[in-house]
Symmetry: C2
Subunit: 263 residues, 2 copies
Amino acid sequence: QTRVLTVSNQKGGVGKTTTTVNIAAALAIAGLNVLVIDIDPQGNASTALGVEHHADVDSIYDVLINDMPLGEVIAQCPDIDHLIVAPATIHLAGAEIELVSLVAREQRLRRAIEVYAQERETAGLPRLDYVFIDCPPSLGLLTVNAFVAAQEVLIPIQCEYYALEGLSQLLKNIEMIQKHLNAGLVVSTILLTMYDGRTNLAAQVAAEVREHFPNEVLSAVVPRSVRISEAPSYQQSVITYDPSSSGALSYQEAAAEIAERGK
Amino acid sequence: QTRVLTVSNQKGGVGKTTTTVNIAAALAIAGLNVLVIDIDPQGNASTALGVEHHADVDSIYDVLINDMPLGEVIAQCPDIDHLIVAPATIHLAGAEIELVSLVAREQRLRRAIEVYAQERETAGLPRLDYVFIDCPPSLGLLTVNAFVAAQEVLIPIQCEYYALEGLSQLLKNIEMIQKHLNAGLVVSTILLTMYDGRTNLAAQVAAEVREHFPNEVLSAVVPRSVRISEAPSYQQSVITYDPSSSGALSYQEAAAEIAERGK
Ligand SMILES: Nc1ncnc2c1ncn2[C@@H]1O[C@H](COP(=O)(O)OP(=O)(O)OP(=O)(O)O)[C@@H](O)[C@H]1O
Ligand SMILES: Nc1ncnc2c1ncn2[C@@H]1O[C@H](COP(=O)(O)OP(=O)(O)OP(=O)(O)O)[C@@H](O)[C@H]1O
Ligand SMILES: [Mg+2]
Ligand SMILES: [Mg+2]
């Protein structure tokens, strides 16, 4: 069964893209078939995975708004086998407003993924093991599409003060989705990111998150690490950029835990 | 003349709230009359400035959607004189979609500020010197309202790789606003934030931003500093939390430069 996870948190800069890119890379390097769908108009995941996403490239925008098949926009990640990417382009910035008046506006991504899975089967391609959807920092119709398409939500939480403030809003929105659009959606995974061991603040936030979500929080914690923030400037994940760094190891550990939980 | 600045950047976590709160605090402590308007549904600026913003509080949501006068939602910042705040509540999360079908949907914040300024004049209150609008990390109708209400845009740019990716999208959107909704809008100020002197990446990004925007970028640069990220957990700005820290001094310097440019 293909696991479809949406990586969401409307708080900005908490490590959604970094988590999507590095968990996907770690699983693909281990031999699993992984698709990353970038629905953030900024296209940071597309950049980090080295796939083109300038304005003339067919992208997830065309899939959501012009009914283009997902298979037609998917590109291979140049330096990781088994990892394919549906890129985001700048056109996606207008998609939220354009989606408002379309039919089945919340289901478009889910239907596109279902059709693509069928096509892979008919073409004799191996089944996808994982699909990760990188969301923008908002709770609009793009993120709603991701919540409807996914079975699981992976929430990265930065170990900073504001981290807990937006969480109740995010969980409320997920409840609404479960009630009206996708009853099977589950918050399966919470990952603590940018943990700076030198500060009390990080330890306090981490302790509070573990208390509220004992079952969902992974044991793996991603440290704040310069190597992680440098990797995207080389169009690489930290896993390929500096495999023995603390950042790479923590993402490898997190990927293993996610895979283990799905068994 | 009251200066109205919107603090915007759709990239998440770049220091929009931290910049709004600390520049506003520095100017108010210097004796200027400052209003902060929080239009981010997360309400981080409201938290950092110590004003209530739970679901039952009248907020900017009521101003934008229910035509409540701005003066009725404004609260005094408890530890800084001359600093008042229009808080955001969780209801604002639904405002983007609700605004789509309202009349004059892009002008609501501007009209509310104009009416409030009139009311202050009639009541014999001192004229506001500055209004800062803290935006969410998106380019939807809330941010559009801020762009229409403001004369200036202050863009915080994090000294990280993804910083430059979203910038062209932001500038394109501002051009659209200038063309159709607010011809007088100007990108007056760019502030480099979270500068980590230990990394080449920060220096490279800073150099590139200065090259592209020589006139807009302030000389003051805000360093990455734990004291800055700790201050909100005490409902304080770093200016009042630890006035002699590198973070507080850099925001004081940036505030002085902003004030100087406006002369
Ligand atoms: N563990 C880490 N250590 C150091 N830097 C990190 C770490 N994780 C992410 N970063 C950096 O922090 C910034 C924010 O991370 P990222 O872009 O992944 O967050 P995001 O939640 O996807 O942001 P947005 O809300 O804009 O989509 C990036 O510049 C990234 O390189
Ligand atoms: N100079 C700094 N040094 C260290 N930490 C900082 C600095 N500036 C901001 N932070 C911390 O980084 C995080 C992101 O900053 P902030 O919330 O101000 O960004 P934002 O752009 O307003 O985010 P959003 O996109 O969610 O609105 C916060 O936890 C904040 O405390
Ligand atoms: Mg991102
Ligand atoms: Mg903010």
